[in-house]
């Protein structure tokens, strides 16, 4: 062993000994400055490596670095322990903690994820309006995901492209099992298992899956809520009533909704639902014809309206699949993306943040 290597070893032992002896933040800080701070002894050795011979550079560099890493780790652990200890001694200056140290961290503020935050609110608002909450499997049978919803055999959604299919080999040979692409299957199951007869209103919130490349506005996994309201006379006027109230409650401002014609296989007539832009239109009244008064912003693409939902009056074939007589009953169906509403509400710009597991994002919602 060379002279320098010997020195490093001795220095290391000395440092570890003194570290173990440090009893408070004072001494710990002093130790840090002495050994691994910018002017510390170990740091100095590392700086001096460049003046050594090639041979020595390699060995000494390696040893010194290893020592520095080891000391830094020990320092962190000591710091952690002292921190918890000092909390006890701090009783002279700071008030004592009210509860014993908890897993989440002392004085730590926990927080909810914005998606379940929104989902809970959506559930509460609809429950207050008399909607039953449906539940069901995320991994679904193809017949519930497509057939019962009047989706024709040649619809693009059925292809391998958009839908995740379960490998039958992995589940004992069962075929035609998919990750659900919408929550409407839950509605159909609920009607069956709860033996629901009209009149009823229900919503089915849950996780759904689409096989798509992820970008700022698309993800493979997201949250939807779909609703159904069936009775002898459940009408478009009733739907407008419910939906305007829902959005007003959700965004906590009065919003207007407007419907325009669209197409989905499970409804006829089908409509897109737009909501008056909560950013630029909230305080501005509409003209008497419902036109936006020349306001607009980036969020609503300067139209004054944000597209928020697809909906329509349930197609007779779908009613029949639920054993409901389309001659006697009618009603609405709607679907919205919880992610989208949450992004609008909190100004989140990238949907992938919801899945990041990054506490810097997650803690913003406490």
């Amino acid at each position: 062993m060379t002279n320098t290597e010997q020195q490093i070893k001795e220095l290391g032992n000395q440092a570890k000994g003194e570290l173990a002896a440090a009893q408070d933040a004072h001494s710990l800080e002093a130790w840090r400055v002495l050994y691994i701070g910018r002017s510390g002894q170990v740091t100095a050795i590392l700086r001096g490596v460049k003046n050594l011979s090639e041979e020595e550079k390699r060995i000494v560099g390696k040893e010194a670095n290893a020592l520095r890493r080891e000391l830094e780790e020990l320092y962190q652990e000591k710091q952690e322990r002292l921190h918890n200890k000092i909390s006890g001694d701090r009783s002279k200056i700071l008030p004592p903690p009210l509860t014993p140290p908890r897993a989440g961290g002392e004085n730590a503020a926990g927080s909810l994820h914005p998606l379940p935050l929104s989902m809970n609110r959506i559930i509460e608002i609809f429950s207050a309006m008399g909607f039953i909450i449906a539940d069901g499997p995320e991994v679904e049978e193809g017949k519930y995901n497509f057939d019962a919803l009047n989706i024709p055999l040649d619809h693009p959604a059925r292809g391998e492209g958009d839908t995740f299919m379960i490998d039958p080999k992995s589940i004992g040979g069962e075929k035609d099992i998919v990750l659900r692409t919408q929550t409407s299957p839950m509605q159909i199951r609920s009607v069956q298992t709860m033996h629901l007869n009209p009149p009823f209103k229900l919503i089915a919130p849950g996780r759904v899956f689409r096989r798509e490349k992820a970008d700022a506005t698309h993800e493979s996994t997201f949250y939807q809520f779909e609703g159904l309201g069936i009775s002898e006379d459940m009408s478009i006027a009733d739907f407008k009533d419910i939906v305007a109230e829902f959005f007003s409650e959700f965004f906590q401002k009065d919003v207007d909704v407007r419907l325009r014609p669209s197409y989905f296989p499970f409804v006829e007539p089908g409509f897109e639902v737009d909501m008056s832009c909560v950013f630029c239109r909230a305080e501005n009244a509409l003209s008497e014809h419902g036109e936006s008064k020349g306001v607009g912003c980036r969020i609503c693409k300067y139209t004054g309206w944000i597209e928020v939902m697809g909906a329509g009056m349930v197609h007779p074939n779908v009613l029949k699949n639920m054993n409901i007589d389309p001659k006697k009953y009618q009603g609405f169906a709607f679907g919205g993306a919880i992610d989208r509403l949450t992004m609008i509400q909190y100004g989140i710009t990238d949907i992938r943040m919801f899945w990041s597991g990054d506490i810097r994002f997650l803690k913003q919602f406490s």
Partner: protein, 628 residues
């Protein structure tokens, strides 16, 4: 689908709506329509014939085109790959206005391009303003008169972009199809006689404009079967009064045939027989006719019924109620809620030996390493813990050091709702802490649900010591104390614990509760989180510590404020992480983490050092502090 406003006007001669109003009308009753663009071609842009093409002496990809307008010859520089001798193309002289890549007009100047003069240019369709295609020069029809204005071949116009709905592609995807829809909407009529086919065909080719469509289909003998139709139904579906007269009027405007015909003075409330026009292949039943009537009446003119919001509320289901209770309990213990994919991340899964369990697998995963559905919540939580490590380990005061997630795991088996698969909802968490903290968390959850003691079976795995919890002889949950080996992989030098509890077991054995019914008023008055999301920083922070000795009377707030004041925008956060004072001593010691960061670049050490020094000096001056 792109259509020309002028062609629609030709087909519906009495149409007075502006392009903007027409777009709005079609959007509110038929298909989403926007104005794609408006273009005017400068009359000075003329048709010329290419006589000669020579290579540009100073540029490989440019050529010199000699063109004639029938009288004069001119030579211009041209970079397009598709031109050939004999073609007739548009030529814009200096002074003419052409469109740039942003759709704005600019005045052409005589230019010198790589040493060769170019008095004007030959034009692409983008420069004429008709589309975004800039791949080549427009080739005009072979019979175009040389020297004539291109604006005679392509007069100024407005292009409408119409999103025809999937069920109307067969009949509405042409100018005639849209004209019929517009005529029905405005009660005007379609003029089938004068269709300018040549211009449209040319623009179809160069600018993706829709075809004219055929008018003969109207009189096709391919008739549909009549559909039994109750004229009261549209009003019932809409929830408003729509008179039989209006229903009849709408259907007739749409060229439906109604039997029995209107009888003056009669109350026409028996069932009608309605036959759709030959081109409307999308009409298959009564519900389709209801759609026609309702959308023509106007979805917008249906007011909210005002009878739904006073409906009686219902309590949320047990599972929803208890899930919220658990969420709140964990948040109160300092846990941060996270979400992970249902697909298992292979890397973290192997850290906890998940591969020994057979997994439900996807046939077509997004990526091969995301083929399996998660068997346990642990890998996802470990992944989040690793992702958030910097913040968690920095241990800033008040920093949460624990994560939780409520979600489903997917197991193979029968007895679930779907054959072959059993889904299980789980409450799972992971935290910096030891066995005591873990026990406390489990106890808190148990007490919340009113569940008494659990039976525990211990075990050891390579990744940690594992306790299996049971209640009433049924599976309840698992707790983990992560091994040194696993923590090393995660780069956590502090103890870490985790748990997974079956939500079904919790709800099944939960104490009785009466779940309250919330009213809309109560919800409206609840305080909501009004946070606006802050973008995560693009560039890394630099952390420096500062330790001081100060007089015991000096306020911490004052010191923090001074640091922020001197540091300016570059100081993102100041965090007191240690404070020490012993009775009778003349000084107290304070230690802060200072976080430096700029939004637009990575900071250099010297930049940080200079600010840090300024702060140190200022604290010495202001508070008489001794900086250590």
């Amino acid at each position: 689908m792109k259509v020309l406003y002028s062609i629609i006007k030709q087909l519906v001669p009495n149409l007075t709506l502006s392009p903007k109003d027409l777009a709005e009308l079609i959007t509110m009753h038929s298909f989403e329509t926007v104005i794609d663009r408006e273009y005017v071609i400068d009359p000075n842009i003329t048709a010329v014939k290419i006589l000669k093409l020579d290579p540009h002496p100073n540029a490989d990809r440019l050529r010199l085109a000699t063109v004639t307008d029938g009288t004069n010859e001119i030579r211009v520089v041209c970079g397009a790959p598709n031109i050939a001798v004999g073609q007739i193309v548009p030529y814009a002289p200096p002074g003419a206005k052409v469109y740039d890549e942003h759709g704005k007009l600019f005045e052409l100047q005589e230019a010198v391009i790589r040493g060769e003069k170019s008095p004007g240019m030959l034009n692409s369709i983008r420069e004429l303003g008709v589309s975004d295609d800039h791949g080549g020069i427009v080739i005009l029809p072979g019979d175009t008169v040389l020297g004539s204005s291109v604006s005679e071949i392509i007069p100024s116009d407005v292009i409408l972009d119409i999103s025809v709905l999937p069920d109307r592609i067969k009949d509405a995807n042409t100018h005639v199809g849209i004209a019929r829809e517009v005529a029905a909407l405005t009660t005007l009529s379609v003029d089938e006689s004068c269709i300018e086919d040549a211009r449209l065909q040319f623009l179809q080719g160069v600018a993706g404009i829709a075809s004219i469509g055929s008018v003969e289909e109207i009189s096709s003998s391919n008739k549909h079967h009549p559909i039994a139709f109750d004229p009261e139904k549209p009003g019932r579906v809409a929830g408003i009064e729509i008179s039989n007269d209006e229903v009849r009027d709408i259907l007739e405007r749409l060229r439906f045939e109604i039997s029995p015909p209107r009888m003056r003075g009669s109350e026409d409330d028996a069932l009608w027989q309605v036959t759709s026009p030959a081109d409307r292949l999308d009409i298959t039943g009564e519900h389709d006719l209801v759609d026609e009537v309702v959308r023509f009446h106007g979805l917008d003119s249906i007011p909210p019924s005002k009878r739904m919001i006073s409906a009686q509320g219902v309590p949320v289901p047990e599972k929803v109620y208890w899930q919220k209770q658990v969420q709140n309990a964990l948040v109160n213990l300092g846990f941060t809620e996270t979400y992970s994919y249902s697909f298992e991340d292979e890397k973290f899964a192997t850290w906890v030996n998940s591969e020994i369990h057979p997994h439900v697998e996807l046939q077509n995963p997004i990526a091969p390493e995301l083929k399996k559905l998660r068997y346990s919540m642990l890998p996802g939580l470990i992944g989040a813990m690793v992702k958030s490590r910097d913040d968690i380990l920095r241990n800033k005061k008040g920093q949460s050091r624990a994560l939780f997630e409520i979600g489903r795991v997917y197991h193979i088996g029968d007895g679930g709702v779907v054959p072959g698969i059993i889904e299980r909802p789980v409450v799972a968490g992971i935290a910096v802490g030891d066995g005591t903290a873990l026990q406390q968390t489990i106890d808190s959850i148990r007490e919340l649900f009113g569940i008494e003691s659990l039976t525990v079976t211990t075990g050891t795995k390579p990744f940690g010591s594992v306790n299996f919890l049971k209640y009433a002889d049924e599976f309840f949950g698992i707790t983990y104390v992560l091994s040194d080996e696993l923590r090393k992989k995660m780069k956590y030098n502090v103890p870490v614990v985790a748990f997974e509890i079956s939500l079904n077991a919790l709800v099944k054995h939960a104490k009785e509760v009466e779940i309250p019914v919330k009213t809309l008023d109560e919800i409206r008055n609840e305080k909501q989180i009004s946070a606006q999301f802050q973008e995560l920083p693009k560039y890394p922070s630099v952390f420096r510590d500062i330790s001081l000795l100060v007089d015991p009377t000096v306020g911490i707030d004052a010191v923090e404020s001074e640091i922020v004041r001197i540091g300016g925008a570059i100081v993102v956060d100041v965090d007191l992480f240690d404070e020490y004072y012993k009775e009778g001593e003349q000084y107290k010691s304070l230690a802060f983490h200072i976080e430096y960061r700029l939004p637009e670049k990575t900071l250099t050490d010297s930049e940080v050092d200079s600010v840090h020094k300024k702060i140190e000096h200022s604290l010495q001056k202001e508070f008489g502090a001794e900086v250590r």
